[in-house]
């Protein structure tokens, strides 16, 4: 079981997660507004940053993979993200022929 009773006295995991989240937020802001990269590159980079930051929340803050059902929880969330990608990307793809 990952959720053990004894643990460290300082919340390093949370602080690292928070600092990285801040860095990713400001990096995404810079890429979007000041980098001057082409639009497609901007979109790919900021979406990748968002996925990394969401993973940080899930693993560093929410401990998705802890406890006996950690694998089920992780698989459940991975599957829900798969559904989300299918719904979002699929809708954009199919609707570009309609609108």
């Amino acid at each position: 079981m990952g959720a053990n009773g004894h643990h460290e006295s300082f919340p390093w995991k949370h602080i690292i997660g928070f600092v990285l989240s801040l860095v990713l937020t400001f990096a995404a802001l810079w890429v979007a507004l000041s980098s001057g990269l082409p639009l497609k590159a901007v979109i790919v980079i900021i979406v990748v940053f968002a996925v990394i930051q969401a993973s940080l929340q899930l693993f560093m803050f929410m401990h998705v993979n802890e406890s006996d059902s950690g694998r089920i929880q992780t698989f459940n969330m991975a599957y829900s993200f798969f559904i989300a990608i299918v719904v979002v990307a699929g809708s954009i793809w199919v609707m570009q022929f309609v609108l």
Partner: protein, 204 residues
């Protein structure tokens, strides 16, 4: 009761000790999976429609970097302090837990205040839900998230009251843990709103 008691595991953190709690936490994760699917449909609607601005303002005319950044930092920090609350709970420190939950609540309330201010500002500029397909889908997506945060604030207040009345028990610990999962999840959704609604809206 006998069956639950014999699955009681002293070596685990308080919120995981009874089998019922472990199943509640797993069940909540499955609920969060369903929430991802809910928000996915709203994101899909928004991303399909966000360039359909009709005679109303476009995203880049409407969004202000500063306001969005303040909201983002408030919610991100509240997610961090909520994590610290759980950290304190696992050290068995009730005062620390309550203090961090209170900070989380205040940051969450600050987020909601800024969001309401933002929406009122848009409406004053003539950008209402009825103005265009872009704004309908925008207000539904961001508003659904805001409603979730508001619900989370009310929920967390009730949990704090229970903690003050009952202290640490396997039940209150499990309730705190589940509301913390919900709170972190709201920040996960916001990361994508920040990226796909605001940043994308400002560059396109």
């Amino acid at each position: 009761m006998g069956e639950v008691a014999h699955r009681y595991d002293e070596t685990l953190p308080l919120e995981y000790r009874t089998q019922e709690s472990r199943l509640n936490i797993l069940g909540f994760w499955i609920f969060l999976g369903a929430e991802v699917a809910l928000f996915a449909t709203l994101f899909a609607t928004y991303l399909v429609l966000f360039q359909r601005t009709g005679s109303g303002p476009t995203a880049s005319e409407l969004f202000e970097v500063k306001d969005v950044l303040i909201e983002t930092l408030l919610l991100l920090t509240s997610s961090f302090t909520c994590g610290l609350a759980i950290f304190e709970m696992r050290r068995g420190r009730l005062a620390g837990l309550l203090a961090w939950l209170l900070v989380t609540l205040l940051l969450g309330a600050g987020f909601i205040a800024f969001e309401i201010r933002e929406f009122i500002h848009y409406v004053h500029e003539g950008a209402t839900m009825q103005t265009s397909a872009f704004l309908s889908s925008f207000f539904v997506l961001v508003g659904t998230h805001g409603a979730h945060v508001s619900l989370g604030i009310g929920w967390m207040i009730l949990i704090i009251i229970q903690l003050l009345q009952r202290g640490f028990t396997p039940k209150t610990a499990r309730k705190v843990f589940i509301v913390s999962l919900y709170w972190h999840f709201l920040d996960v959704v916001w990361i994508f709103i920040f990226t796909l609604v605001y940043l994308l809206g400002m560059v396109m």
